[in-house]
Amino acid sequence: MTEPLPDKGSAWSRYVGGVYYEGSAGFGRLYLDVKEHHTNKDGSVHGGVIASLMDSAVGAALHNLFRDQPDVTGYSSVEMNVSFLRGARMGDRLTAEARIIKEGKTLAVADVDVLSPSGELAAKGRLTYCVFRGARESER
């Protein structure tokens, strides 16, 4: 199943510039074209951009997973761990692929690969999310 997300993500993810590409239940793929405003002083992509892209990719995977579960009212990242394996530079298109590896009642865990234009692993992340079910924002 590949269909566009009904919304364009958070203000932050729109500002960073990751673009939703495709997904299915528990899976999301985004890409980001590295521009000057994403870089460090030495021209390499900033680690915070990678972390943001990972968070957005998992958000898409969770959205695709929970879209048919009306009791899920929201989710929020509670932990992330990222290994930066290879640098990327301006002009590179980075692809983030997020897979949900555990869906529990209150927690979800995702694996994310960020790939360089040649398909090499540029970064690897594991993110944990708190899943809110059946409680309104004010009751959390």
């Binding site: 290994s83 394996l85 290879r86 590896i101 555990k102 865990v109 692993l121 690897k124 594991r126």
Partner: protein, 137 residues
Amino acid sequence: MTLEGHRQSPFVELIGGRLEVWEEGLVRLSLTVEERHTNPHGVMHGGVLTTLMDEALGGVIASVRGMETMWEAPHATVDMNVSFLSNARAGDEIAVEGRVLKIGRSVAFGEAEAHRKRDGALIAKGRFTFTIIRRGE
């Protein structure tokens, strides 16, 4: 690459870890969970898994770097991060596999997965960072 020159850690022997596969790029260890491996809730202690993951990843990085290179400039764990996704109990067989993500000049990265053999469930996933110690530099 063969097992020649590879030695299992005495600590892993103590807890009952068994080497199943040791080839270039893949190391698999297994363990039969016993009462002595459990915490007060009767489930396997997380430290058992991190121990096996560390051993598998140290081994798989050695398998790619080569044993001679490894003895000249050993690698040592500096960071580990593990998500515990499910559990195992006494009587369960578990398998832990280590794979290399990247080996640089001074840093190496690896990833480990632990599965419960009876149903194949992924019970833990970890990522480890190693430093490569170059003596005299």
